[in-house]
Amino acid sequence: MRLELHKVKVRDVRWGDVTKLEDGVLYVDKASAIKEVADEVFAKVDLKLARPGESIRIIPVKDCIEPRVKLSGGRDYFPGFVSPMQRAGSGATLVLDGAAVVTCGSIVAFQEGFIDMSGEGARYTPFSETNNVVLVVEPIEGLDKHKYEAALRIAGLKLATYLAKACMDSKADEVATFEKGTVAEESAKFPDLPKILYVCMSIAQGLLHDTYVYGTDVKSSFPFLLHPNEVLDGAVVSGNCVSACDKNTTYHHVNNPVVCDLYARHGKDVNFLGVVISPESTVLAGKERSASMSAALGVELGADGVVITEEGYGNPDTDLCLTAKYFEQAGIKTVVISDEASGTDGKSQSLADATPEMNAFVSTGNVNEMIVVPPMKEVIGDAGAIALLSGGSAESLREDGSMYVELQSIIGSTVEIGYGRIGCEWV
């Protein structure tokens, strides 16, 4: 399977008469873009722009999406959602590298997060470095939250696809190629390299805590194997309204760093087997099922080692422990990536569950650590939303517009697929 990501650098975003990319500037025709995402459940749709370094706060943020479109080997993007179902991961894809669609709206009030484009808060989120087209919608009165989430999710995907589609004739600044055969082919090619599997645990708990693959909710799914190219080419989409810091946004999925970094070493010091999407359930039987079946896939594929990444904190810590335990018991060496909830003072034990097999742990930071973020000149969305966000409180927003918040209220700040450099240490 061969995938080419044709990356066009986006260095700025501005309004324009026609949506296009010129000299690294993404021009957005606001009226057409709004028309593209229209939905009968939206009473009002607006677009805003936010660039790196600007004094802008975006709150409350639901999802971030990288604008992409298929150049060959498929059509549009996000198969099963806004393009016909087809296997993702082959042919060529145009990527507006350095741009992001940010969907903004208070769906569940507290299960969104914020992005600061400058200041202290900007250090913790990758979306302070992207040129953002922010989609702000108001739902019609009385709209069911679940329909609202679904509509906003799809609108974000449509907008991202629309932007990329308008730039299809742009010349790529860089072409990244991802090519790998079947498990059998690669194992024959690299018989001496350690076979590494990646288990991407994904929140699938229902009640707006959902992950979608090829358009379907994985809540009632078993763990399953994907070719890494499928993950890097839009098969996985976030539908998660959950604490902002450690949910994998759709942007994170297509740029999954564990997939990219294992791929970069494939054929050199590892034989990258593939990606298992493992649903995180709310009930113990579901946790046991996902953990044991993920480990069983590892055994069937002949894995020597596995990287397991968690999504969320709290009860998913049990999914993480069980998965690590079953892999280790099957003789497959395990490393986990997870964040920590060690309290605002950092003095509490960090996990809600533990197991002695989990002896190789990579930390992506304490979600409870308090930080002060300075006031921003412009707020896109609702500044007062911080009172209800996880990691915020009624006292968070101060009179001068600065905020005293837990790190967990910032989108992507401790994301557990290891996208950022932050990690906990003892002091």
């Binding site: 294992l262 990287v307 490393v335 986990v336 509490s348 034990q349 837990e406 967990q408 290891g418 990690g423």
Partner: protein, 348 residues
């Protein structure tokens, strides 16, 4: 101007003798003594040792409150900017004395206090959370290295230089997790660690597994018909408007509400403020999280004795284990004192 430093050493390093002089009473010498001479070299002209307290290990251990007060008085009079005790290496009584006087000085005078110990010194577990204890060898063979680390850390504390992780600064960590920006992103660190592990080479986990306390369950209720049952929830159900301002996540408190006159938790009076689940149905009917309606039915039907008049509530999302443990202890104690026999604990 140089910073003023006061040192504390025992009778042995103070040149007063060994075990036979262990009851030596605190005495002040207005210059560096013993290890202080070497420490002064490490300070250079950035800090000057203006006094050294010498005290017998036996004296400090046997008259701890008196010794602490006498030493503190002498230290205070010298108006130091920093206090340094030891290093005590693996000497138990000396370690406890160094830890105790450092903790006292840090708290009373609010100045940086540094000591040095071997990790197995009993003083470490007693005082590590309160003070900076530089990691040393087990014996005075490691003196030079210990003093060099203590001086380096001390000067950073004096100048307010931001500290790196404990392992880099050379002290025994205080049990606090802190965020740092690392050189490599998490995914790369994980792959490096995995390849080390597969190759059977050494690797360093970034978080050692905590050991959970096992709480034995209470014995079963013998006579349910006469038992008092309480409702406790981590589901964030509060009176509308959240009068006690419980946090939506990472709770640091819980609240207690009188439900004695109620048959039902209705949405006009109660709501969920929990930040970790979809509250839609809980806000339409709070009984789905705290089943007061069903409990009243069972109470009327004589299934159990009576319902405790108070509901205890908190939010259990992102709440630290330390806080959760404290809530459990406090609520448990109150319920026990109130004669409650059993609890229905609803989570979400």
């Amino acid at each position: 101007m140089s910073y003023r430093v006061v040192c504390y050493i025992n009778q042995f390093y103070g040149g007063k003798g060994g075990e036979e002089a262990a009851d030596f009473k605190p005495a002040l010498v207005k210059n560096p003594v013993g290890p202080g001479l070497e420490l002064q070299k490490f300070f250079g002209d950035e800090a000057v040792i203006v006094g050294t307290i010498i005290c017998g290990d036996g004296y400090y251990a046997e008259h701890i409150e008196k010794a602490r007060a006498e030493c503190l008085k002498m230290i205070q009079d010298l108006k130091p900017d920093m206090f340094v005790a030891g290093p005590a290496f693996n000497a138990g009584r000396y370690g406890v004395a160094c830890g105790d006087i450092c903790a006292t000085v840090a708290e009373s005078l609010g100045i940086p206090s540094v000591t040095g110990m071997f990790p197995e010194n009993p003083g470490v577990e007693l005082y590590r959370a309160q003070i900076f204890i530089v990691k040393t060898e087990g014996s005075a063979r490691g003196m030079k290295e210990a003093l060099s680390s203590m001086a380096r850390l001390g000067l950073k504390l004096l100048k307010g230089t931001p500290l790196g992780p404990a392992r880099e600064e050379g002290y025994i960590h205080r049990g606090i997790r802190k965020n740092f920006f690392k050189e490599k992103r998490g995914s790369l660190r994980a792959i490096d660690m995995l390849l080390q592990k597969i190759a059977g080479k050494t690797f360093e986990t970034e978080y050692e597994m905590p050991v959970f306390k096992k709480i034995p369950p209470a014995p079963p209720i013998k006579d349910l018909k006469h038992a008092t049952i309480a409702l406790v929830t981590s589901g964030g159900i509060v009176p509308r408007g959240n009068p006690d301002r419980l946090r939506v996540s990472s709770s640091e408190s819980y609240a207690k509400y009188d439900i004695s006159g109620l048959d039902d938790l209705t949405p006009d009076k109660f709501e969920s403020i929990h930040g970790g689940y979809d509250r839609m149905w809980a806000n339409l009917n709070p009984d789905v999280v705290v089943p007061l309606d069903v409990m009243r039915e069972l109470e009327r039907g004589g299934e159990f004795g009576k319902l405790h008049p108070y509901l205890y509530t908190t939010t259990g999302t992102g709440t630290s284990v330390a806080n959760a443990e404290r809530f459990g202890r406090e609520i448990g104690r109150e319920l026990k004192e109130a004669g409650v026999d059993g609890v229905i604990l609803t989570s979400t």
